[in-house]
């Protein structure tokens, strides 16, 4: 191809490059011989998104977990042993990776606890693995009802609310303040579906009606055609059930269209991460938060906020609290059961009330027996461009007791079977 003389130079260069590559591969290869982990440690495996759409909320959950581990170890650890957090990136949507990492944590790293996932579908997939292997699994922030509902398992616990609970919490305020005719913009996956049906049910029970709904695929960037349709139906309220980036896109565009001046904009779940990503004029609407940092008068909250602010420079979000509470749940389960046996720990968690420095809520929180679902407080309010500080983007108008709106155990569809 090229003349013979010029082949020597590329060959030499190639050899150098190969040598360098070989050396670097060796560097990577040696740590495969995993250094013997301190066999003494109790290991908690976190299998959560660190990249992709859910990277921001996943990161916040991770920070909460890390703070909890520090506190747990300062207080003597789990059953007298130090606790260690093993972190794996489940990616934001690839179930294959999430499941693989879960297996890795359970089989290779022999974790005593599994935490995850932000993505509801991944949480369900991981729950199948943890149930199969009999490992205690706490879901910090995957909301779809099935996790502690129709697909519940004895070893799977959840910190965040079910979508039905969120719906029940926010509906009375919405009907009262905004109106009875609702139009939904729903993300097309299990979380969106269950949140919408939860809201529709609550709406009807409160005398309202659904006049229209649109399912938008995850990752929709342009909501204009859906918004055009929504406003043509002339509802009282347009509910945005989208989350994360979809929420930001949808609200940004809705406000640009001036829809906030003609209709009430609201939704179910809202998160501080989304409000932070919106321009100030788009921080509007009535929502329900699952935890909020600005809770004057509630003990221990200020310390928690200060600790997190020291770590990251920003206030904790509900996601931070999810990670924090999940990790503490593991410690509490083991310490109360005085054992690391999953069945004993799961039994110890039945009906367990979280101590106030973990619950960080006015009425506390407890795990409902037979469902493994944490029943916390919910915070209904509206978004604001600025409150007492730059971080105060949500005005809480009502704190709803989870126990009041959680519905009956039978309604959740959870039929738990314990291993013999």
């Amino acid at each position: 191809m090229s003349n013979p003389e010029s082949t020597t130079k590329p060959l030499q260069r190639r050899k150098v490059i190969q040598a360098a590559a070989g050396a670097s591969l060796l560097q990577l290869a040696t740590p495969f011989i995993i250094p013997a982990r301190a066999a003494d440690n109790v290991k908690i495996g976190l299998d959560n998104p660190l990249t992709g759409t859910y990277a921001a909320v996943g990161k916040n959950e991770l920070i909460g977990c890390q703070l909890a581990i520090e506190q747990i170890n300062a207080k003597g650890g789990i059953n007298g042993r130090q606790a260690e957090l093993l972190v794996e990136d489940s990616t934001s949507g690839d179930a294959g990776t999430a499941v693989q990492k879960a297996r890795k944590l359970i089989e290779r790293d022999k974790v005593d606890f599994l935490l995850g996932n932000v993505n509801s579908s991944l949480a369900l997939a991981m729950a199948q693995v943890s149930a199969e292997k009999g490992v205690l699994h706490v879901v910090p922030g995957g909301h779809t009802d099935a996790v502690t509902g129709t697909s519940c398992h004895w070893n799977v616990f959840r910190i965040c609310n079910t979508t039905q609970m969120e719906a029940n919490a926010v509906t009375p305020s919405l009907i009262k303040n905004a109106g009875k005719k609702w139009y939904f913009i729903t993300p097309d996956y299990s979380f969106g579906h269950t949140l919408q049906s939860g809201l529709e049910k609550a709406c009807k029970a409160n005398g309202g009606s659904t006049i229209g709904a649109d399912l938008t695929p995850l990752g929709t960037t342009d909501f204009s055609s859906y918004l055009i349709k929504a406003q043509a139906a002339k509802p009282d309220v347009i509910l945005f059930l989208t989350q994360g980036d979809d929420m930001i896109n949808a609200l940004k565009q809705a406000v640009q269209f001036g829809l906030d001046k003609r209709f009430h904009l609201a939704g179910g779940q809202q998160e501080l991460e989304a409000l932070e990503g919106l321009p100030p004029d788009a921080r509007i609407g009535t929502w329900v938060f699952e935890w909020y940092w600005n809770q004057p008068g509630v003990p221990h909250v200020a310390e928690f906020v200060a600790d997190i602010k020291k770590k990251t420079g920003r206030v904790p979000t509900a996601r931070t609290w999810f990670g924090f509470a999940s990790t503490w749940t593991c410690a509490l389960a083991a310490n109360n059961a005085k054992s690391l046996d999953a069945v004993k720990m799961a039994k110890a968690l039945q009906g367990l009330k979280l101590p106030p420095e973990v619950a960080l809520m006015p009425d506390g929180a407890f795990f409902r027996e037979g469902q493994n679902q944490l029943i916390p407080d919910l915070y209904v309010g509206h978004a604001q461009a600025k409150g007492i500080s730059e971080d105060d983007l949500f005005k809480v108008t009502e704190v709803v007791k989870g126990a009041d709106i959680a519905g009956t155990l039978a309604e959740t569809g959870c039929k738990m079977t314990w291993p013999s």
Binding site: T51, G52, T53, A55, A56, G58, K59, D188, D214, L215, P217, G219, T220, T221, D222, S224, S225, Y226, L227, I228, K229, Q231, A232, G244, D245, I248, N249, K252, Q253, V255, Q256, F257, G258, L259, R262, E273, A274, E276, G277, L278, P279, P280, D281
Partner: protein
């Protein structure tokens, strides 16, 4: 109903214009260099983030002008250092390279600016709708269409009235002859790539005003660009423009009648075009090789 339809058609043109801007950059690079730039979305994100970083100092308008140029500069460097080596080889390699580059760009923006969505404020007078009747014709979206029109016009001028442009067009048809005629095709490809990336950067700044600014902002926009190019015609820039607009309108109209197919409709269109006229609506003969 007709009002709904009409609104969606107009809105579709606006959305389509944006798709077209993205697709044109991709098409430029594809036509001359035969490289599918998977990293186009990554460059879009870079454009958006650079605008965000520059805004406190030089304001929105300054950022709008400067950020795309900086992105194009990055594009020139990337082309020179990485992509240039691969031209003589199987197109497979440049594909894989841009694929890997896309990963690096996404992760890089996440590393520098964090995964958290960043608020991107645009001048207030742009955000208000022009009339309450045509509420979706916000100042910003019309401004975007205007900008796309200017960019397309500018591109047309460059391609038809400047020497660089004429060489690019000639190169798209027969690169070997152009080289034999004494043109430095290395520089030609480099500048062409830079031009394409400029459009991506510009699209990025515009996108940040409408969408949330986070590292994955560009990744969902790659597919519509592909479809726009395939539908409009491989090798044809006016075709790409047309393709983008068609996709936008088709999506908008579909939302009225069959909302769950809003995104799928562009793939259906693509399938139809491939069946009936494989070279695309305005594509040139023999371009499919």
């Amino acid at each position: 109903m007709t009002q709904l339809l009409l609104f969606n058609v107009f809105n579709g043109l606006i959305v389509g214009a944006f798709y077209a801007l993205m697709a044109l950059g991709l098409s430029l690079i594809l036509n001359l260099s035969g490289v599918i730039n998977f990293a186009h979305g990554g460059f879009l994100a870079i454009g958006a983030y650079l605008a965000y970083a520059l805004m406190p100092t030089i304001g929105f308008w300054g950022a709008l002008i400067v950020a795309p140029f900086l992105t194009a500069l990055l594009g020139l460097v990337v082309e020179r250092v990485l992509i240039r080596r691969l031209y003589g080889r199987d197109p497979l390699y440049s594909l894989l390279l841009t694929f890997g580059l896309a990963y690096i760009l996404e992760d890089g923006t996440r590393y520098i600016w964090g995964a958290q969505s960043l608020p991107f404020p645009i001048p207030a007078w742009l955000t208000t709708p022009l009339s309450s009747e045509f509420f979706f014709l916000t100042g910003y979206r019309l401004f975007m269409v205007l900008l796309v029109a200017i960019a397309v016009g500018g591109l047309f001028l460059i391609l038809n009235r400047t020497r660089l442009g004429i060489r690019i067009r000639a190169g798209t048809l027969d690169l070997e002859t152009v080289s034999v005629l004494g043109v430095n095709i290395g520089v030609l490809r480099n500048l062409n790539f830079g031009l394409g990336i400029y459009l991506a950067g510009l699209a990025g700044v515009l996108a940040a005003g409408m969408l949330g600014l986070q590292p994955t902002i560009g990744t969902s926009l790659i597919m519509p660009s592909f479809v726009a190019i395939i539908v409009g015609g491989l090798g044809s820039l006016p075709g790409t423009l047309l393709g983008g607009l068609l996709i936008g309108v088709a999506s908008g109209v579909t939302t009225v009648f069959f909302p769950s197919a809003t995104e799928a409709v562009m793939y259906v269109m693509m399938g139809l075009v491939l069946l009936v006229r494989p070279r695309g609506l305005l594509g040139e003969e023999g371009r499919t090789q």
